[in-house]
Symmetry: C2
Subunit: 196 residues, 2 copies
């Protein structure tokens, strides 16, 4: 999506070969008009897939997810990251490993809000190693729901997330795909390389 790429070039900051800071418009300060366009784009890409629910993860997934939910006309549920969980019997629980922080965190969704009838679209701000997506997929599968696809705002294509998801036959739609952050420069995956 041209708009997201342009925003990254204009307002993103390359902190290192692996880290792109986008707190100007996505995960700290949020540009609502951009989120609206992002939501429309996700809705367009998944409009024929009979999505019944969007699942995301707090906090940075929420803004793109609610706009996708608005245009697909479905509820959004955000998984909570939590250390101490109460009422565990009402929750679906999974774990997410962070390669960056080298820590494992627990994520949870109430059993009430995801069922075996649901056709789920996962939305998240970033796809890097795919661990958050993997945790969300685990929650959906525990509920017996079908994960129809994964919608990502920014994919770091030089990391393993897309491969991990595609190896398990999940459809991944990323609005911006970053081939490299080397030398302080953002290089996007070229269109013709996006066929997968």
């Amino acid at each position: 999506m041209k708009l997201v790429e342009e925003e990254i070039v204009k307002n993103g900051t390359v902190l290192s070969d692996g880290v792109l800071k986008v707190d100007a418009f996505l995960n700290h300060q949020i540009d609502p008009k951009l989120m609206e366009q992002i939501g429309k784009e996700f809705a367009e890409r998944f409009k024929n897939d009979k999505i019944t629910k969007i699942i995301t993860i707090e906090s940075s997934g929420i803004a793109p997810a609610v706009f996708a939910g608005l245009y697909l006309n479905v509820p959004v549920v955000f998984a909570r990251k939590s250390k101490s969980l109460t009422m565990k019997d009402e929750l679906l629980i999974s774990e997410v490993y962070s390669f960056t922080k080298q820590t494992t965190s627990t994520i949870a969704i109430s059993k009430k809000y995801i069922t075996n009838d649901d056709r789920v679209l996962l939305i998240d701000d970033f796809l890097a190693n795919g661990q958050a997506a993997k945790g969300l997929i685990d929650l959906c599968q525990q509920a017996g729901s079908e994960v129809v696809g994964v919608g990502i705002v920014i994919e770091k294509s030089f990391q393993d997330g897309r491969k991990l998801l595609e190896d398990h036959h999940f459809r991944v739609e990323s609005l911006a795909r970053i081939a490299s952050l080397e030398n302080g420069t953002v290089t996007f995956v070229k269109e013709e390389e996006c066929a997968s």
Copy 2:
């Protein structure tokens, strides 16, 4: 706002005299169409106040805040709750005490995204004792920005939050004001009592 009151009656659950569960549409599962209407309502109430920025707090404030930001045409910044903060010199930091959990948590906003030119609208899902709002106001005041008002989706009017804010001359706009949750029943503040 009639729509929010109706949603509370229909899909809220009174857990105790002090606790209303609204995870069906606001703070776990999110109803995007309701959030859109909530955003429009906040925008309508503050349209003449030259708001330049909306500040909220993760996670449940984000959805109503981004829609308010969309219709007021201003950026949204969400304060992060954090235990371990890095890069402290780039952050404004405050503390929020939770009467429920009896814990203090740290909240932070990057100095980059709030300035002394900003006219700020604070948005949050709940107003109870006003401690979260107080923390957000502290962050804004550290930045030298002006807090023009506080927009709340659900106010527990039997707790002290509104009084605390009004005593400090902040304008509070709550879309639903709950007078009582006693006997498992939601009673709203009557219109004529809302003059304050």
